[in-house]
């Protein structure tokens, strides 16, 4: 598949001296859904804003559909729709008007039918003559999505689309995204939640501290996410792992009281049964057993450790 966005050696240092993006290299494929995961302050919004022309890159090069975002900004920007993280809206504008305004801003001729259909798709049609300030937060977010789609972009950026959104709207949103993807729109969204990425993304990128730590097909990442840890607490501390258990991939805590075992819940066999049998046959006396799912945080921590 062809790359629709290509980012090369992108760095951004804000006036404050803060290095928000550190040498980002990323190719985004046409038609894919890419989820960018990362903790607060990771640089997700900065990355998106830079591609959209809201933040000037300190160095590096970005092309959209082969056009340079600075030299050919008209070409690149007209292909992009942006739903910002903040709910910034002109409070006194009306729903239909504000979508038409956005369409015009991006250089498209008025098209009443298209905007009306868009409003219907977003379940906003009955609100089309309402002032934006009279809408609920979730509806305002829909309006922002509508504004971003008003000029029929080929690339859609959604910066934390599900912040402050209820289950119903989230489902609607996934439906809309699905429809857009089918029509060939490339979608890039940011989120804090791995489940969200799991639900809809084709590829997942993890950003932390301004670095792109990982970019992988979702299924590969999910494999890693499927890892669980079995923690066995012993009654008496031991100095080393007993002979009979060395064939298992066990690790012993420093105080000799905990044994931990990593396994993959999605694997054909987890090895738990045989491990438990072996423990049973050994002299070890157990105090407690618990299991832990490796969380997104764990992955972050591991990745950050690895990259440091």
């Amino acid at each position: 598949m062809k790359n629709i966005i290509s980012i090369k050696n992108l760095c951004k240092t804000y006036n404050t001296g803060h290095e928000a993006l550190k040498n980002i290299n990323l190719d985004i494929k046409e038609g894919e859904i890419l989820a960018l995961l990362g903790p607060n302050g990771a640089g997700k919004t900065t990355l998106i804003s830079t591609i959209c022309g809201l933040v000037s890159p300190s160095s590096g090069k970005i092309t959209v559909d082969g056009f340079d975002i600075i030299k050919n900004y008209r070409e690149t920007r007209s292909r992009i729709g942006l739903v910002p993280q903040e709910l910034s809206i002109a409070a006194f504008d009306k729903v239909f008007e504000t979508l038409s305004f956005s369409r015009g801003l991006f250089g498209k001729k008025p098209n009443k039918g298209y905007i009306e259909q868009l409003l219907k798709d977003l379940s906003l049609f009955d609100k089309k003559d309402n002032e934006l300030r009279a809408l609920s937060g979730g509806m305002k977010r829909r309006v922002l999505i509508g504004k971003a789609l008003s000029h029929e972009p080929r690339i859609l950026f959604l910066d934390e689309p599900t912040a402050g959104v209820d289950v119903e709207l989230r489902k609607d949103m996934w439906k809309i995204i699905d429809r857009l993807r089918k029509s060939g729109v490339t979608i890039i969204l940011t989120t804090h939640y791995i489940e969200e990425a799991e639900e809809i993304a084709d590829r997942v990128g993890v950003i932390s501290g301004g670095k792109l730590l990982l970019i992988e097909e979702k299924k590969d990442l999910m494999q890693k996410m499927g890892q669980k840890q079995l923690i066995i607490e012993l009654k008496k501390s031991i100095s080393s792992i007993p002979e009979s258990l060395t064939s298992y991939d066990l690790s012993l805590s420093n105080n000799g009281l905990f044994l931990s075992y990593r396994y993959d819940t999605r694997g054909e066999r987890t090895g738990i049964t045989t491990l438990m049998k072996a423990i049973n046959n050994s002299e070890l006396e157990l105090k407690d057993i618990q299991t832990k799912q490796s969380s997104l945080e764990d992955i972050f921590v591991n990745l950050v450790k690895e990259s440091a």
């Binding site: 933040v55 000037s56 008209r74 920007r77 504008d93 038409s100 015009g104 801003l105 991006f106 250089g107």
Partner: protein
């Protein structure tokens, strides 16, 4: 050129005016009428005519300028400050729009609005005093140039201001004194010699003088000088705006 964008920005700004039509027009009309009643009729009836022009008529160009300047600055500064303040400016900044097109939309709308208000003030003054306009083409030209250059100035203030206080500061602290001391209500040669010199550093003197000349054919400074000063002011404002856009001043980080 992204004509559609200029059009929607212009319309959006004009719509804002239309939605607040009463405030937009009532307040300048009311304040000008008060000036006419107080200065034109009450005090003016006891004043001598200046250079053969009755005092009530003499103050008309100055009053129109006073309104024009304050309106241009207020409209243009608010027009850009508000989206910046509410965050909606992100959309304009991420649109396929050149800086010039952004200016054309915002400043064009602000200038249009003050031009209309200028016309209304002029018509209002017709109710109070006899007006003659010797050079109508020049009059309109001065009007348009002033609307554009001071709307640009307002746009700069709107970009610069990062709170509502600053937005009010310049008009209140700088423009009002300059207009009052700029010969709106008197002829510069009525001042003591020293202050006549000082007053020449006030750019508004040139505006009002030139504008008054287009009405009555009398002026404090030469018309060419007036025109040159307005154009100089316009050029300076354009340069500042260009610099602000280029550096992304308070719009882009």
């Amino acid at each position: 050129m992204n004509i559609q964008a200029v059009k929607v920005i212009y319309q959006h700004e004009m719509m804002r005016t239309w939605n607040t039509i009463f405030q937009s027009i009532a307040s300048p009309v009311l304040s000008t009428s008060l000036y006419f009643i107080v200065f034109g009729s009450a005090i003016g009836s006891r004043m001598q005519s200046i250079d053969g022009v009755p005092y009530g008529s003499f103050i008309v160009p100055g009053l129109v300028m006073l309104t024009l300047l304050t309106q241009s600055i207020a409209n243009a500064s608010f027009g850009i400050f508000f989206p910046k303040f509410s965050g909606t400016i992100y959309e304009v900044m991420s649109a396929p729009l050149s800086h010039f097109e952004i200016l054309l939309g915002y400043v064009g709308a602000a200038a249009t609005k003050s031009f209309i208000i200028g016309g209304i003030i002029l018509a209002t003054s017709g109710f109070f005093v006899d007006l003659q306009i010797l050079h109508p083409v020049w009059m309109i030209s001065f009007l348009i140039l002033t609307c554009i250059s001071f709307s640009l100035f307002g746009f700069i203030i709107g970009l610069w201001a990062d709170n509502f206080e600053k937005l009010q500061l310049i008009p209140l602290l700088v423009i009002t004194p300059l207009v009052f001391l700029g010969g709106s209500f008197y002829s510069v040669d009525m001042l003591p010699a020293f202050w006549q010199k000082v007053t020449l550093f006030n750019p508004v003197v040139y505006l009002i003088s030139g504008f008054r000349w287009s009405f009555f054919g009398i002026s404090d400074v030469s018309v060419g000088m007036s025109l040159a000063m307005i154009l100089l002011f316009l050029a300076i404002c354009l340069a500042i705006v260009a610099w602000m856009f280029k550096t992304g001043y308070r719009l882009k980080s």
